[in-house]
Structures are given as C-alpha cells and as structure tokens.
C-alpha cells in the first residue's frame, strides 16, 4: 500500500527494538472478548486507476449534475467560483494543518481566519465574528443557546416559521433534552413573520428571524428588532444566502444582536449540502458568551504583529462542562475560502454580483407572472421567491427536467399548506435564455 512506508526489514528492526515478536504481539494487551474475529465485508483494495473508474461510474449515476440548470436554492446556492480561490485553498500548507495550537508555525491559518472574521463582521455589521460553526443550521441552534445563556433566567425562545425548516429541526434537536421551550411564529400574507404574539409572551430570551427567509422574502429587520427588543428579548437574525448582504441593509445596521447563517455561497460548492460554513457574529457586549474559536491579534517577543487563538477560557478544554459550546473542530478551510472569495469580489464586485442576482430573479418572477403564475407572498425578495400556478405545474416541471432544467422546488414536503407552490432561485450562473426556456415550456 503506497501510503504505508515500512519495508519488511524495517518492521523486523523496529519490533526488535520494542521487544515484540510480531505485529500482532503489539496488541497482546487487548482481551480476547473484545476482539474482532470475523473478517470484514469490504471490497478489495482498489488501485488509483480502478478507483477513478469507480467514481466516474457513480458520477454518471447523477441525473442532475454539473451540466444541469438548477433553479433551486433553499439553503444551497450555485455561484461562480474563481479558479484562484479553489487553487489557493487547495494548497496543502493550509489543507493539511491542524487547528493552530502552535501559533508560530500556523501564522498563515491564523492571519487568514482573522481576515475572515473581519470581512464577515463588515458584511454582517457585527462587532465580533467567530472562526466558524459547522453550518447555518447548527449556528442557529448555538445562537438560541447563547441567547438563553445571556438572558439567564428566561426559559423560552421563538423562531419564525419562515426560517429554513431544516434549521428549525436542528434547533429543536439541540433543545430537546433541555428544559427550554421553543415556540414558532406564524407567517403573514406578505411572507414576513408575524410578531404580534410577542407582546403576550414573557420569559422570552431571544427571537430568531431569517432574512431573506426560506421563501426569499426580506424581513423588515429594523422594525422587527424594535418589537423584539420591546418584548425584552435578544434579536437573532439567521440567513442562508450571504450574497443578500451585498445589497441589503445588514443586520447590525438594523439593531440585531446576534447574526448566524450559512456562508456556502462564498466559494463553496453545493456538495450535497456540506461542507458549508456557519457564520456567527455578535455585538461587543456579548463577546464573552460567543461559542466557538476566536483568533485575535497580538505581538511577539520582538513586538512584531502576530495572531493567536484567544479567549479560550470560554471553551470546552478549559471550562469543561461550563463552556459556551462543545465545538472543537469547525469549518476552518471553508472560512479561509470564504475570505479569499470575499477578497476576490471586493467592495465593487460584491455589489455588482448581488445586484445581478437580484435583477435576474426579478426578471424570472416578472416573466412567470406574465405567463400566468401567481406570487404566493407579496413581500420583497432577494434571489428566491415562491409562486403557484392555476394549472398543474408538474407536467411542465417534468418536461423541463428532460431538457436538464430543474424548475424550482415544490414546497409541500416542508409546508403542507404550500402543496404545489414552487420556490424558485436564480443566481448569476443562469442566463436569460435559461429562464426564457422555462417560460416557453409553460406556454407550450
């Protein structure tokens, strides 16, 4: 096996030094009743070339693939990825390093994560951003737990039903064994969250909205945060499409206290939903309650600028069971990738690309309405929106699939009331011609 460097002669020499009679003898301390005594049902080892063929065959089994035009976002978005970002982040000095426990030989990772924290803080309008969480969903769960920690004696958190259903499911799973209560807030006609029940709730530590929400609808974060604060709760905003903040007012500007969401749009492939990037930030006054790793700037013995992992006293290896989270490994290289992507876009590029996403989705929205579709929600949207059709859309969907176009996502699975309502997403990767093909097929 090419990954195992030992020659037979070396193995013999080494066994002699350790005082073992054979390789098996190294395991003499393991009791007989703990031993594996059946042979594994695993395929024979493949050569690199056999493995390439095997993977190619699996790839061929993907009916929807890299050539498909996918008008589906719902938490996982197709954006163009510069070759430079892919190339640089594939450098093994970054990729094959561990968490930077020895800062003197990990300054590349540390400066890179510090830059990620900074650019992300600017994007979201937050004072501090951590070195990443697993994904948008677990970031929401951690944000709710953080809200409960900060509020101390309060016992309840509220989440909008317009938050990605999978994110809500993860939050539920995290909170299930605790004594905390998770309540859901209904959706208004315009697709925004109904906050009217907040005034009747006491004991509410935090309220979480998603903006743009699962339906693509942009919440009125400023107004919502005022209502949430008036109810004595912390305001949490989550998101699944980071590009939105290239165009929209950021949550910080709207007074939000904690922001959490998915950064996959910034340079990461969809890859069946992972690895993604949990972005997580908060206001200065909440920093010591922040979960996860943080990189900070400092100086070395000669007064030279350098970076280290810091505020570790919040973390599990020091605070043990009183830690702000159990997270250890996070999504390191994904955070670096997002930083390289944000740096590649720059101030002007981010704005142009976000605008392009908005304009394209507005074009499709308008054309679909002209072709007879009805908007499900009246609120403003970013690059996703929900429509329904008077006639059954399924035959059109199937015909488009034959043309390698995935025309939206039917929402009945997640929202029974939205059976035969379709969530469409348009990013810069889809052309006017692709959109016109959908319209032609509807009219056909």
């Amino acid at each position: 096996m090419r990954y195992l460097p030992h020659t037979q002669e070396e193995i013999q020499d080494m066994l002699e030094k350790t005082g073992h009679s054979s390789l098996e003898d190294l395991f003499a301390s393991i009791p007989a009743d703990c031993r594996m005594n059946t042979s594994w049902d695993l395929p024979e080892a493949m050569t690199e070339w056999e493995l390439n063929d095997h993977m190619a065959a699996l790839a061929a089994g993907m009916k929807v693939n890299e050539r498909s035009k996918v008008f589906v976002g719902a938490g996982s978005y197709h954006h163009y990825m510069p070759e430079t970002v892919r190339h640089l982040m594939g450098r093994s000095e970054f990729l094959t390093a561990y968490t930077p426990y020895q800062p003197e030989m990990a300054q590349g990772t540390l400066q890179g994560i510090f830059e990620y924290q900074t650019l992300t803080a600017r994007l979201l309008g937050m004072d501090a951003v951590n070195a990443s969480m697993y994904d948008g969903a677990s970031a929401l769960a951690e944000a709710l737990l953080m809200g409960l920690r900060v509020a101390k004696k309060k016992n309840k958190v509220a989440v909008s039903q317009a938050i990605h259903p999978h994110y809500r499911a993860v939050a539920q799973a995290y909170l299930a064994p605790t004594s905390y209560e998770l309540v859901e807030l209904p959706i208004l006609e315009d697709g925004r969250t109904d906050l009217s029940s907040l005034t009747d709730m006491d004991d509410l530590a935090a309220v979480a909205l998603q903006s743009p929400n699962f339906f693509g609808v942009i919440e009125d974060l400023e107004q919502a945060t005022q209502v949430i604060h008036a109810a004595g709760s912390l305001s949490i905003t989550c998101f699944s499409e980071a590009f939105a903040y290239g165009l929209l007012k950021n949550p910080g500007q709207c007074g939000v206290d904690i922001v959490c969401g998915e950064g996959q749009s910034f340079g990461l492939p969809r890859s069946l939903g992972g690895p993604g990037l949990g972005m997580f930030g908060c206001r200065q006054k909440l920093v010591r309650n922040l979960p996860g790793r943080l990189v900070g700037e400092t100086k070395d013995l000669d007064g030279k600028r350098g970076f280290v992992l810091t505020l570790a006293t919040r973390e599990q290896h020091i605070r043990r069971e009183k830690a702000t989270s159990n997270i250890c490994s996070n999504q390191g290289i994904c955070a670096m990738t997002a930083a390289a992507y944000m740096a590649s876009l720059g101030r002007t590029g981010l704005r142009e690309m976000a605008r392009l996403n908005y304009d394209k989705s507005e074009y499709l929205k308008k054309e679909l309405i002209k072709a007879g579709a009805q908007l499900t929600f009246s609120g403003p949207t970013f690059n996703e929106f929900v429509v329904h059709f008077t006639d059954d859309f399924r035959p059109v969907y199937d015909r488009l699939l034959q043309k390698n176009i995935v025309a939206g996502l039917e929402l009945g699975t997640w929202y029974p009331k939205l059976q035969s309502h379709y969530l469409f997403c348009v990013t810069e990767t889809l052309s006017r011609q692709d959109m016109d093909t959908i319209i032609e097929e509807i009219k056909a």
């Binding site: 009916k63 094959t96 570790a312 002007t348």
Partner: protein, 491 residues
C-alpha cells in the same frame, strides 16, 4: 546525529487584506447582465460593504505567502497526540471535487442524485463493518458533534424508557470535549479517576454507577494511548443499572480490524473521519464525526439516512423515535467522499496494517525515548505514548520549551499539557505514515533537545527562533481582545 529538516529560509511579509489593493481593482470576473435592471425599494438597500478591491495577482500572492508561514502534514512530521495527523491522500481531493458530486443539490428528489446516495449508503455499511456496530448516521460534522449526537441518543433512549437521568460518568482520560457535549444534554459530568496504570478500574465505575446515571463516556484507547482492559466488565456494570456506554472513537486508528466495539459493550461510538480515515484537517476543519450504534439504538439515529430498495437508493426520513436532525443537510458530504475513497484504496488488509504500523511507530518512539524523558505510565501503549517534562525540571525547562525547540528543528510539536492527568504531558502520536528514517530523525532531535535542556537551556527558552514570529503574547491577546481588523479598506 542526523541533520534535522529545520533551517531558515526567506520569509516574505504580507499585510492584511485591507492594507493592500486600490478601489476599482477586480480579482473575479463579473458577468455582464443580460436582463433589465429591476427597481428596488430604497429603504431595503444597504451601503456598499467595506471590502478591499484587489487584483487577481494581489490575491494569489497574499495567500501563497500566508501558506508559507504554515506547517502541514505535507510539510513534515506532525506527531500531535490524539489528532492522528496521517498523510492525506491527494486522490481523495480529486474525488471530492468530482463535478457531478460538487454540484449535487441537497434538496432534490432521490432519483436525481443516485450517485451520491450510493456513496452514503456504502459508507454507512463500511463504517458499521469496521466498528462491528449495526447502524450509522453520517450527519455529525465533527467529533464533538458526534458526541453531542450520541448524548442526544442517550437522552432520547432514557426518555423512551420513562427514565430521567441527571448524571454521566466521564473518566479523566476521556477527550476534552466530552463534558461539554454531555452538559448540552443537561447531564452533570461525574469524573472517574484512572488508576496507577492509567486505566479505569471496574470497581471505581461500580461505586459511581447508579440509576440516576445515564451511562459512561469513555475513550478507548484512552488519551494516554492505553487500551481499557476492563471495558467489557465496565460495560456490564453500566448496562446492569440501565445505562449506556458511549465510545469516543477518536483513537480508532489504533485498533482497526483488532477491536470489535459491540463486543466491548459499546452502544454508541463516533468516528473522526479527519483522523482515522485520512481526510485533511484544513487548519481546523471541516471534519466529520459519523455515529455508529447497536441495532437497539438504530431507531434514535438522526434522519435522513441512505437506504437501498431494490436497485434504488433513497433517503429514509420516517423514523418516529429519531432525535431529528443535527445538520442542515447530510453532514460534511465532501469529507465523506474522501473517507470513502480512502477505505476503497486501503481495503480490509490495508486498514488493519495501518493500525499495526501506527502502534509499532508509537512503541518504537517510546522504546527509544523512555530513558531520556519521563514516561508517564509503564503500561504498554497503543498508537500514542505520553511523556512529561519531569526529568527536565531541574534545568528549569518545561514542556512548552521542549515543544517550541522542536519547531526550530522542523517538527510540529506533539500535543502538550494534555491529558490533564499527566502534569506537563508530551503526547506523541506518530501515525503509520511516518517512515523509520523520519522517526529516527525525530528521536535523535528529542534527545538533542534533552541534552540542550541540560547544557544550554536558553536555546529552549528562546525557541522558536526560525519562524516568522517568536513566541506570542497570548495574555495580552486575551486581556484586550482584538478580534477584527480596524483599518479601512482604502487607508
């Protein structure tokens, strides 16, 4: 002695991203619009985000220079105990980047994505085979996430048996994340002390285990690199009181093909694919922490999981006792592909051989260094060995100094000051992918450092001297945290 790899070279400085660039530069092609500009409600519009404008060359030089300040497994030996820093095969990167897999959308119907579902299904099967357990969830995104998933399963299991339990036993030789994971599920961690041989004693467990205790979380081999010989009896004690046994599989690299987790009495076990199954750690992730369970606990696993019906793969969500979801989609799928690729490359014999050589390498280092550095326990070790700085105390040299001096010689230091049961611990895990020549060089270097400690301790106190930076002021960093850069993009 042999020459060491450490030497000094030209290091180029590089400012922070926002300290360079000029407004108007681009490092990414922006497509021109083929649709009319749409009107937008001005009240929703934010200001432009304060990112620097850089050229493509600016970005490329920036990250290339940063990368040169880093040390990875591809650079050299990285014997970080408990982290299994083995070689990360390059072919796995190619497979993870397969265009059809990279483009796979997580919300589409099963028939659209058969290729990736087959990978999930087969990987679930491989991991069940390898551990000896019955069912697997691939969702957890890291080891600690696997632990949390395991604790959620414990909780749900007890609830389903109309039992509310408030405590959990955690040995002092378990992984650092265990207490925090248990605390998230409301369990109070009850520490169990290891004995003079560095192992758990069944009598200590019996004395603490009761019907208010959900079970035990143990790491086997433990963080001292020792196999818990009484695990079978300990599991029986825990089970007899209605508890469950959680196995932290972070150290699985020691026992592939040797130990059967189910026969050990383990009910739930997580694996770290970024350790045992060779996926790169990325300077802190992403990893993957799949959870394997016995048949009895299968009903509690997160949903969805991949199943096979006839020739079709499907995502199964109907499982009424499930703890729900722990990840937005299907876990770190890109990491799962790499592990799948690794298992197919190694085969059963290769995986077993990897463990044998990992244990051989650790024992070889132990045998060579035990007369130089103080060995914490005399018990035979598995894939890692733990020394301490006890022999160097007289020279006022600490574990930290020894670690920093190793950097000058071109080695990543071992894990230090962990496990906590060994004061000044130096925890060395060479892994199977280090060849004898490199081990010999490492051993010679450790001996040289021990000699320096005695005769020229200032060399250790002043180390490292060959990196971009010297020792960093971590105290000030924590006291006055500077977590984001303050300079403006165009300054």
């Amino acid at each position: 002695m042999n020459k060491t790899p450490g030497t000094s070279g030209l290091i180029l400085d590089e400012p922070l991203l926002w300290e360079k660039g000029k407004p108007g530069r681009h490092a990414m092609s922006i497509p021109s619009s083929d649709v009319p500009a749409a009107p937008m409600d001005e009240s929703l519009l934010g200001a432009e985000v304060d990112f620097p404008d850089l050229s493509e060359v600016d970005v490329v030089r920036h990250y290339t220079r940063l990368s040169q300040w880093n040390f990875g497994v591809d650079t050299g030996m990285y014997p970080l105990g408990s982290c299994t820093m083995k070689y990360n095969p390059k072919i796995n990167e190619k497979h993870a980047a397969t265009p059809a897999f990279a483009a796979a959308h997580p919300m589409l119907g099963d028939t659209h994505i058969q290729g990736v579902l087959q990978i999930m299904y087969e990987l679930q099967h491989f991991l069940a085979e390898i551990t000896g357990l019955d069912a697997v969830s691939l969702q957890p995104a890291a080891g600690a996430h696997g632990e949390l998933t395991g604790m959620l399963i414990f909780h749900k299991y007890h609830t389903s048996h109309n039992s509310r339990r408030s405590k959990i036993l955690i040995p002092d030789t378990a992984h650092g994340t265990n207490p925090a994971s248990a605390a998230l599920c409301g369990y109070k961690a009850i520490p169990v002390k290891s004995n003079a041989r560095g192992m758990l004693d069944k009598n200590d467990v019996a004395a603490l285990m009761d019907e208010d205790t959900a079970g035990i979380m143990l790491t086997n081999p433990n963080t001292l690199g020792l196999f818990e010989q009484q695990i079978r009896e300990i599991a029986d004690i825990v089970h007899a009181k209605g508890g469950l046994v959680y196995g932290d599989g972070a150290n699985m690299n020691a026992v592939l093909g040797v130990v059967d987790a189910k026969k050990c009495g383990i009910d739930v076990l997580h694996l770290n694919l970024h350790k045992t199954f060779s996926t790169p750690h990325g300077g802190g992730g992403p990893g993957a922490g799949p959870v394997c369970v016995t048949k009895d606990l299968e009903q509690f696993l997160p949903v969805p999981r991949a199943v096979k019906e006839g020739d079709t793969y499907r995502l199964m969500t109907d499982q009424s006792q499930s703890i729900g979801r722990v990840h937005g989609f299907h876990g770190n799928f890109g990491v799962l592909i790499r592990a799948y690729s690794y298992i197919l490359s190694m085969g059963a014999k290769g995986l077993n051989m990897a463990s044998q050589l990992a244990v051989l390498n650790a024992n070889y280092i132990r045998a060579h260094l035990k007369d130089t550095f103080h060995l914490a326990y005399e018990t035979p070790c598995m894939h890692e060995c733990v020394f301490s700085d006890k022999n160097q105390h007289d020279y006022k040299v600490s574990t930290l100094d020894i670690a920093k001096r190793l950097i000058d010689y071109g080695f990543h230091p071992p894990t230090i000051y962990f496990p906590l049961v060994v004061p000044g611990a130096i925890m060395i895990e060479p892994t199977e992918t280090e060849c004898k020549d490199d081990l010999d060089q490492f051993i010679a270097t450790m001996k040289r450092i021990a000699h320096e400690a005695e005769h020229q301790p200032e060399l250790l106190h002043n180390a490292p001297s060959r990196c971009k930076v010297k020792r960093l002021d971590e105290v000030t960093a924590a006291r006055c945290p500077c977590l984001i850069g303050t300079a403006q993009a165009d300054d």
